[in-house]
Symmetry: C2
Subunit: 345 residues, 2 copies
């Protein structure tokens, strides 16, 4: 089959490799119907050292089960399924608490002998815990939105849920990428009535307004902070959903959060140390939360809204390509020509 | 009157100054019955530069109202009252949300022309919002416990409440100072059944066991982290209440918190930058919360338990002195001869 590999920063290649096959009795093989390129893939695209070895890529996919191991009971050949961006057993104490990203026996795609989603097929470990069967077939009108349940919708939703957004909380969303826009949609779904989206790309912030943003702030840094404060009586918002991952975005979050409020991060931090002392988080009693979203926990909750069209998160995809064009898809996302690229292998 | 002033690290003096008097119609004058020395006073005692000017000290006191401004309605001359460690109007949006430490019109003792509690009397701004009348008189058996409502009990309780401790959460408390011990008592009060106290002073950890600690870990650093993990099936505790404020304690908190868990800080951070990236907080979805406790919010809730003897937090005081001995009281706490020093002016 064909699959995507990254050999270093900016070096993405499509290669032919052996088809995946069942190794453990708990495995399933899924033929990928739709996959996509993630904002977090771009961190690798910028930073990965060239080692001469390629790493398989992609962690978001929906597809059809082609084969199952003897121990798999919840999905069968022909089922149309969603794969979350982490695989998990569904039975350990963390999975039972809804934190599948910390599953005791789980893991992530593209590591430990498991391939990636930007490919024609994937071996899915712990298929019973990992895969969610969609109760409809391959409805073309729904595919894009179903694919967002694999990562970006659940990640935006995790930001809002972790921050405990509700009808009484004001919200700032930092970042107009796909996850930021999903955070807007999620905050609206949870009842927030003031949602301030910080972003500079008008086509994206326009989509953010359709998803529920009530204000857009294009200014950055201190100027952007001042704008948010002006919109909130001087105090900032109860919650800040940080969907970027750079330290500048974290500092902006600290600048716009209200005393007693919550910063919820879902952008993968590209830093380790940052201010959390008296002058930033401690003095005003700010809570910092978030992390890799246990999207598996949210699929059942969000799926009905996707199926009945209440939400249409698939609108974040603004380009569709075939697998052979994935390298150009990375370039398009990196140059911000494309917001999020859908791939049909 | 006599009052305590600090002139620099290690330089505490008792001086005679004019009696405080009503300045604003919202003021009250309180004659101090009991005050005390706080672990956070020791940070100044270690670090304050000598400028030739003294700063008044003390932020914990209970006493009797001697005079009130014309606008004060909730307390009157002769009332026995508790003063929380921040003064606040009780009416702004933050006070109404229970975050009196962020009161729009409030402030802290020993600043902005307001004196400190380690004195014979104090001018209390915004007396209606700040002071809580005790429904009993100066009962000698209750004074020490009532005094803890001024800071350490409310601060320990804030740690536990902010971490959402309940009957299903396991708890680590870092620090066997007065606040750490109050955090133990608070976690127990909120129903926690496993409370691991990290501390090395046997007399203090023994008191911690009386307050509800189920395990004591005297080891520090990696060894201490390993001990907590051993006690918790390898995963750490759901909540960590950090009552120290040094970065080592924060790192220990990160080491013993369970994936998906919460670190709640009430020790005033003596650092600004610290690890919060993928390898510390983000990867395992750790929440970081806490800050200066809005103890005013907790006084009414905790007072009945103090009055009826359900809790006896006053046991953290192991030395009682007069005002003239306050300099030696600082020395005793600094050298850890005393856990917490009560002062009767």
């Amino acid at each position: 089959m064909r699959a995507t590999f990254m050999y270093g920063a900016g070096d993405v290649r499509i290669e032919t490799v052996p088809d995946p096959s069942i190794i453990q009795p708990t495995d399933a093989i899924v033929r990928v119907v739709n996959t996509c390129i993630c904002g977090s893939d771009l961190h690798s695209y910028h930073q990965r050292p060239s080692t001469g070895e390629g790493t398989s890529m992609g962690h978001e996919f929906i597809g059809v089960v082609e084969d199952t191991g003897t121990a798999v009971t919840t999905v069968k050949r022909g089922d149309f399924v969603i794969a979350p961006f982490a695989w998990s057993d569904g039975t350990c104490e963390f999975c039972r608490e809804g934190l599948q990203t910390s599953c005791l026996h789980g893991g992530f795609w593209n590591a430990d002998g498991v391939g990636g989603g930007q490919a024609e097929a994937v071996r899915v470990p712990l298929a019973d815990g990992t895969l969610v069967k969609v109760p409809v077939g391959e409805d073309p009108a729904l595919l894009a939105s179903l694919l967002t349940l694999s990562d970006v919708l659940g990640t935006g939703y995790h930001a809002a849920k972790s921050a405990r957004v509700n009808g009484r909380t004001t919200v700032t969303v930092i970042g107009d990428g796909a996850v930021g826009l999903m955070a807007v949609l999620s905050a609206r779904r949870l009842g927030a009535e003031q949602i301030i989206l910080l972003g500079r790309h008008k086509d994206r912030t326009d989509l953010g307004i359709e998803f529920g943003a009530t204000h857009v702030v294009a200014e950055r840094g201190e100027e952007g902070i001042a704008m948010v404060r002006e919109l909130t009586g001087g105090h900032g918002t109860h919650t800040v959903l940080e969907a970027v991952g750079y330290q500048d975005a974290y500092r902006q979050a600290v600048g716009v959060v209200r005393p007693g409020g919550t910063i919820s991060r879902v952008g993968v931090p590209q830093y380790e140390d940052a201010p959390i002392g008296f002058g930033s988080l401690f003095g005003p009693n700010i809570t910092l939360t978030g992390g890799p979203a246990p999207v598996r926990a949210y699929i059942e909750e969000l799926l009905p809204d996707v199926l009945d069209g209440t939400i249409n998160p698939g609108r974040v995809f603004d380009r569709t390509i075939g697998l052979d064009d994935v390298p150009s898809g990375y370039r398009a996302m990196d140059s911000r020509e494309a917001l999020k690229v859908l791939v049909r292998p």
